[in-house]
Subunit: 342 residues, 2 copies
């Protein structure tokens, strides 16, 4: 009792009702008789009908497509996000269209706009660091395009953002450094044009301050979050006298750069130098010595963001305990140890 490509008309005919009624059943309208609904549902199941997205979209000006906008070189992070997003997407009949972009590009905002309009995306999820871009958010709001940002600072309404409390995580990292007895600490920040870099730096410094430890300017450098820049910053910090006994980098890539420089200089980690990063990317657990770092619940954040987005698109479709803040946590491995006794 199957039909090749069943349409709403087939269902209507077979169920002995009108198209309109079938449409109501599909869209869970409450204005359908208990009995009628049953009959229609039965036919739908029998001929294995599922509504055509394009037709639906054309008629209702929706696409059932969500977009993912990012300008982030960390492939592992992207991959985890995609999986988290897709989990929720498929569950609710949405599909995910990816869009790596170049936020430095001059027509970046328009370019994103074109991306959204050319496929009539129902909404987008924006990853850091693009998520910090005010202009983009403003353009999206102006274009009436639902969006959710994933970020590390609170820069939007609850419905439009998922935040990881990185300040709090850095506090834990500072506590660890203190506990291990480090006083002479080097810090490699991310680009300070990003709020997240500032957030992490401030969180770390503030907590150290609680223990009356401060980091002089000469032991703070600004990196670019890349492996290469991690190496450059590490070379600089490790040439200082006295040499820091510990270095914290804004991410694992740069921390890997620190490990490399230390190895080249014959400095033993963690005996002579403790090193830590942020992200817990694949490197962190594989590198030798394995890296103490901070892990964000990336997939969970992505899922939450997607739920919020879908809830904006079709209100009340997902009953949510809409947490806004997610807690990263410290992962202690081999690269950190007690400061050497003098």
């Amino acid at each position: 009792m199957e039909i090749k490509n069943p349409t709403i008309n087939d269902v209507a005919r077979l169920a002995g009702v009108s198209k309109r009624t079938v449409s109501r059943v599909i869209n869970r309208s409450p204005l359908v008789g208990e009995n009628t609904r049953k009959i229609v549902d039965k036919v739908i199941a029998e001929i294995n009908f599922s509504p055509d997205k394009q037709a639906r979209g054309l008629a209702s000006s929706r696409s059932y497509l969500l977009g993912l906008i990012y300008d982030n070189p960390d492939a592992l992070y992207i991959d985890q996000v995609q999986r988290g997003v897709l989990d929720v997407c498929t569950e609710h009949g949405y599909e995910l269209v990816v869009h790596p972009c170049h936020s430095r590009q001059t027509d970046f905002i328009q370019e994103c706009g074109r991306f959204i309009s050319r496929s009539k995306l129902d909404g987008v999820i924006i990853l850091p660091p693009v998520s910090e871009n005010k202009e983009l958010a403003a353009a999206l709001r102006a274009a009436n395009c639902p969006y959710v940002r994933i970020a590390s600072v609170d820069l939007d309404d609850n419905a439009n953002i998922v935040i990881s409390d990185e300040r709090q995580a850095m506090k834990a990292m500072a506590d660890l450094f203190v506990e291990l007895g480090h006083q002479s600490i080097g810090y490699i920040s991310g680009p300070l044009k990003y709020r997240s870099s500032i957030e992490r730096k401030e969180g770390f410094l503030a907590e150290l301050g609680e223990f009356n430890i401060s980091i002089p300017e000469s032991r703070m450098t600004e990196g670019k979050n890349s492996y290469e820049s991690g190496k450059e910053c590490a070379s600089e910090l490790l040439s200082r006298t006295p040499r820091p006994t510990a270095i914290l980098a804004n991410n694992d890539e740069m921390a890997a750069g620190v490990l490399r420089v230390a190895s080249d200089l014959g400095i033993k980690v963690p005996e002579e130098l403790s090193v830590a990063g942020f992200d817990d990317n694949i490197l962190a657990s594989r590198i030798i010595p394995s890296l103490t770092t901070i892990r964000r619940p990336v997939e969970a954040m992505a899922s939450l963001a997607t739920q919020k987005l879908i809830n904006t698109i079709q209100p009340q479709s997902i009953p949510l305990k809409f947490a806004k803040l997610v807690k990263p946590h410290l992962v202690i491995r081999e690269s950190t140890g007690k400061v050497a006794k003098t």
Copy 2:
């Protein structure tokens, strides 16, 4: 002279021609007068019109959506592929929908079918190791869904596949091992249910054979391509007497496992043990010692696959020198060295 949401009707009216003619211009039909075309193009530019994908799709039963099917844990690989695909996609007005899947799942084929039909994908690109799945390819062919596979062995028509010549690359790796003087070599293969694992293994062994070097069964293990299984296999191989002076793993993840075990056992790399992998993923260049490995031109392969796919969907749209075979190449780093003199 802009219109809020210009449609084909606006263009037709303003250009003083019929809808049909505008449609012809949009679709580059040759059956349009030189003059008419100019006028229409001018109007299109003036009011910034771009055809609605959904409407187009509904009418022509196409979606301008391509799918990416994979079941591969290497995030970096996926990321590179996505970028390669998107490069070509956007250029030709297509969008990319991602679909990580579970090929062990029993209803895997149907699940992919649903993915394709629910968004009426115009075609899909399949990554290894799913790309080796015969059933999937057969189902796609039966469903008349254009596809291109990325693989390491020739298992389809030229139009449907892009191959990396991994056998050839493994030959180069074997040459290196021989050149460095290794005779006692350990090998960690990938799961031998995958053709690519077999291909790499055979390529390596065959070339060694050319130099009258053979690897006894006791120095060959079958890994699962994971870091953990790399560690297990390495423990096994390194407990053999005499100990191998070199170990080649089917991928970088497992090679990283070998480095870890060697480090734990106090075996110096490369002085006492040479190690090499395959993939050149992010680990390879960051880990200490950095890993000798093989790099495939992943982005280029992905772009080529996409061009082939689009060419299948709309014949002759891309003039192509349709290469089928792509050459990976050896990347020599710190983890390999001359065998220790006895």
